[in-house]
Symmetry: C2
């Protein structure tokens, strides 16, 4: 498996585009994205578990209920959530895709991201769709830009691999940044592949994958109303269709995991206001559930996040976050170390502090990617969670997001 360029257009038979249609005031910011498959594709989605769900979530659920879809449309600038008539607008977005591409509206995955609680005007979308469809090309770039909100960095990745001698690809784009704390679902992620796989097995692969990928990312502890990951698999790689578990399914799952985990790191590293990517690796846990709970608690702690922003090796906050996580662990067995390109800094052994050089600590913690290694010495299970530091800019961005 190798990483390749191309994002959602890395797999055969996919085109994409993104335009500024006018939902956002800033004309330099694209706000409408479209991804289409040449052939109808197996489709799988996971959705936010927030009880407040964006209107597009409901329409997408209807449209992929039969296990197939062929296009994805997504706007930024307005979440189409907690407003009146939102579902009609979401459905109309699908109908407009049908009008311009001939793909039935019931095969369209629809998503929105942006401010909650404001009416979404269909006019700019209707006006923008002809150019959006006409400009479809074998490039992820414009679509990737159009789904960004407060994201600073575009997030696209892809891998190439083989199944049964056939060259296959999986690629994806993501919108992350804020209101990111997936709960059995995630932020907006669109993944495409040319692998031939049944809708059932595609959903199985995706549902298993998110537990180790997007569900392990947190920027700010807020689970969005519009979170969704969707995958289209159009089968154009020509492999024997994957209809059960086995070697081919495992190969596909590994490729999917490589794409999703890469996007996770991109999302966490580009969290709102973030200057650093944090990765918490928990090992030696009695169960996977313990490892997950501990790693997410550390990554979500506002005090740990602030300390990392300040490159302050205040490891007591890590012990504190483990202690209140709800996981049953023996706190007197915990070892903690910070790790980055500058080296490894052990700070805690058996739940007690060990002496360290503050100078070296600063060196380790001023790097852009900080790993927090937690060894529980209580078993063999492990988990990794990703997050980012808490900065002045997070507060600035969210102190006045709507204006």
């Amino acid at each position: 498996m190798i990483h390749i360029e191309g994002g959602v257009c890395a797999a055969k038979g996919f085109k994409a585009n993104g335009v500024h249609c006018g939902i956002r005031k800033n004309r330099d910011k694209k706000d409408l994205a479209l991804i289409v498959s040449e052939k109808r594709a197996a489709a799988a989605c996971v959705y936010t578990k927030n009880l407040v769900k964006g209107a597009p979530i409901h329409i997408t659920k209807q449209n992929v209920a039969d296990g197939y879809a062929q296009a994805m449309i997504c706007n930024s600038g307005n979440a189409n959530t907690c407003n009146l008539g939102g579902e009609e607008i979401a459905l109309e977005m699908c109908r407009l895709v049908e009008k311009e591409t001939g793909i039935p509206y019931s095969d369209v995955i629809v998503a929105s991201t942006g401010v909650i609680g404001q009416p979404l005007d269909i006019e700019p979308i209707a006006a923008g769709l002809p150019a959006l469809a006409a400009g479809l090309e074998v490039s992820s770039e414009n679509a990737c830009a159009a789904i960004m909100t407060t994201d600073v960095v575009p997030k696209a990745t892809a891998v190439s691999f083989e199944i049964g001698g056939k060259k296959c690809a999986v690629g994806g784009i993501a919108k992350g940044s804020g209101m990111i704390h997936p709960n059995m679902a995630t932020m907006l992620v669109f993944v495409t592949t040319d692998v031939s796989i049944s809708p059932e097995m595609l959903q199985k692969a995706l549902s298993a994958d998110v537990d180790d990928s997007f569900n392990m990312v947190s920027v700010d502890g807020d689970t969005s109303t519009n979170d969704m990951v969707s995958v289209l698999a159009n089968g154009m790689a020509g492999n024997d269709m994957i209809v059960s578990e086995g070697e081919d399914f495992d190969t596909f799952k590994a490729a999917l995991a490589e794409v999703t985990k890469t996007l996770c790191r991109m999302i966490a590293g580009d969290g709102e206001g973030a200057t650093k990517l944090l990765e918490c690796n928990v090992t030696g846990a009695e169960t996977k559930a313990v490892a997950v709970t501990v790693s997410k608690s550390v990554i979500c702690s506002a005090l740990v996040k602030s300390a990392m922003f300040g490159a302050d090796a205040n490891w007591g906050r890590i012990l504190c976050a483990i202690g209140y996580s709800g996981a049953q662990v023996d706190v007197d067995k915990i070892d903690v170390a910070f790790r980055s390109e500058a080296g490894v800094l052990p700070v805690c052994k058996n739940g007690r502090g060990v002496p360290f050089s503050e100078e070296f600590a600063k060196e380790v913690l001023t790097e852009k990617e900080i790993k927090i290694d937690v060894e529980l010495n209580g078993g063999t299970a492990s988990a990794t969670a990703w997050g980012c530091d808490l900065t002045y800019d997070y507060v600035k961005i969210n102190g006045d997001y709507r204006t």
Copy 2:
């Protein structure tokens, strides 16, 4: 019941003091507090549920196991947690109190607050105790100052009331500010009263009280390792001892609640970096548990907190926080309004936005105390939670707390 001055010295028979003994480098910051009762008193405590517990917590539990205590000692600047020999140091603090006051070490409540994971040196405490004990006076002020960490505002309150014709008082001091997200326990709070009450009934009153007071406060979602509320009741008011439920017990509980809720508001309003006190009142819930879960989720949302800092009426984030709280509510029935001294601003009706004036919204949200009223329209239960806004200064304070 009326509010009076005096803090922990409002009740008869209590004296207090605070000095700078040298745990902190800044000589202008007091770091050691002592509160003593003239008579041995019924004692009740609740403690942090964090698995990582400060050494003083273990010693205090031993010392109040018999239901009685007579003194409270507390240092700031070092949490005496996750270090070697912490319990011996905490015990030695109690022994030093015995040496200077004659109160048996096993009747001393001991607490520490500050950085986690560093050895606590007994030398400055031993050196400071003679002056600390010699200066005991009928004034809360020095003790209140000595338990502060990043607190900006001293937190003391007291009330006067009658039980059986006898004049009684309950008063308290608190240290709050950061790492505040109580879980069945709380931050550091010392309460004194001259009410005569059995240890069992005192513990019953306190344990019930914290569910509606300190357990409803969150500054940053981090449950401290050293949280504790303790109450001493020395009986010097001369009322018939409260040994069962009834009118006298209810009167005492009401007075205790007035003190604890006042301290809660002080703690939330003086949260690290805070510019505003937030209060979320949830009404119309099916159960108390739903009301508690919803109100705490709103108060804890980093996005809600940031919006309040920016005086931005971004109510969609409140719906979002309710939706991911885990409470089962009908999101299409939710009404939300912001309220402050400037007026009431309804922003959401039946889960959908209602038009409002942005100018008036700014007026309402630039006040120092913001109430977020959430009506679930699904029952009769209610709850109130307190928090604060998330600001640049929170990040600043916690980006380099140790230096």
